[in-house]
Amino acid sequence: MGGARPLGTSSIFFSENKESSTSLSEDNEKRPEENEANAEVNNDGQKNTKINEGNNISNAMLTSQLETEPVVKLEDSKKFDKTKTGKESLLELLGAMKVEVTTIRKIRPPKFPRVSERPDPKPMESVQSMFQHATAEVSQQHETLIPTLVAAASAAASTLPNRRQAESELLQQLRKHEAIPDTQRRADGQNIGDIISDMKVGKKQNGRSNARPSSQIRFDEDGQGYTQDRGITGELDAVRTRKSPFTSKRLNIFNAGAEQDSLSDLGPTLWDIDLANQIVQATNQTPRNGFEEMIQWTKEGKLWQYPINNEAGLEDEASVPFHEHVFLEKHLDESFPRQGPVRHFMELVITGLAKNHHLTVQQKQEHIAWFRDYFQQKDNVLKEAEA
């Protein structure tokens, strides 16, 4: 199918050197390379990876498995919960195939399987070793496979050139896939997710292609100049393409429910006040005419409320009955002497307070309380004066 290239080593190198994130995002670019790589491998009959009608993602998975990048396992684990057709499940199984370099049989695949290591100089041998593994494991596994999957495997294998070999290999992988318990599979997915979240995102270097001084005049068709609107859209683009903290994987460092208790207890924090101010300023608050200006001043308290109410701040006092204003002798009975100049003085004070229309009951009681304290402090002076 493909050209007579040496085994697609170069293409594998090339795709390995790429950033891991771009392998996911630029699937379309990768596809011809993948097909090439698939074709090369296919020619050697090592492994059937060329599936034309498969998903892009599964292709990426395959090549990534060849390169041992665990990038797309995340996708695999995401799709796991959907109901699958036989073909999709088969494709996922192919994606789940792991290439193990070492002959040591590990229960779990290694966490960082060759992201940091040098790319394999001889991928052919690694594939071969995997094949040997597969053949070795066949004898050890005797689980019954789901017949639909088996049928799907044979159907897929029929589309590939090496029918028998493909079918046997797929069935081996099926068995191996079934052997791994579900929890481990999910754990693999989570490990992969952790790995991916740790990996860096490569930025697309635009070089800010439209970087011109913002005040520079550009010319229309008719030759009349115009200055572009000074926006910061160029810079904003760079900001927008970064991943927001909400799209990447949750790290589970903090407990979710612990924050809410403290928030409800305190009053409005300074940040809340600042946010409220910003919201108020963001909405169009400037008054359009004099009426709105006066409304704004009234809200602020700069302008009195019309029609003028003499008791503007004293709405609560309306509910206080009159006898609490007028009959204040009951406050006099405790801790004031019954006879003497002090009593005389305090009765005058009470009369004056009763006739005062402008004080609240609270203020009157405060006056009387102050006098009580004062005369209790000056008790000795009073007794000396009497004597």
Binding site: G267, T286, F371, V381
Partner: protein, 135 residues
């Protein structure tokens, strides 16, 4: 975040937007006055605030001082007490200055403006109901 919305509901959000930095609808840019005119005005403001604080106390002590019923020893003690209060707490030290220019003299009480500012605003039709008089 919820508290911020509550704040807006109670109308506290106008805290910082009260500065008249906007253009009024008539097209006239108002002066943005965020400082007092001079230090004398600042001191006058401080005296007014302090007089407001101590107003009740001074009233009560003066009530003891200025009557004939209580013994004189008590009144002498009250004299000393009121003298011990801070000097800026007495309302006598307040001077009704012009609000715009802080001029201490020639201030009309109703408008709180000095005569010069009053004349300036009235001539430019900024004082409601004020007209040049002739008879």
């Amino acid at each position: 975040m919820a508290a911020a919305w509550k704040l807006l509901g109670t109308g506290m959000g106008f805290l910082q937007s009260s500065l008249p930095a906007y253009r009024s609808s008539l097209g006239v840019v108002e002066q943005v006055r965020s400082y007092y005119v001079d230090w004398r005005m600042v001191r006058d403001v401080k005296r007014r605030q302090m007089a407001f604080e101590y107003a009740d106390t001074r009233l009560r002590i003066n009530a003891i001082r200025k009557n004939t019923i209580l013994p004189k020893e008590l009144q002498e003690i009250a004299d000393k007490e009121i003298a011990a209060l801070p000097r800026d707490s007495c309302p006598v030290r307040i001077r009704n200055r012009c609000v715009m220019t802080s001029r201490p003299r020639g201030v009309k009480r109703r408008w709180r403006l000095s005569r010069i500012v009053f004349r300036h605003l009235a001539d430019h039709n900024q004082m409601s109901g004020i007209q040049r008089s002739m008879w």
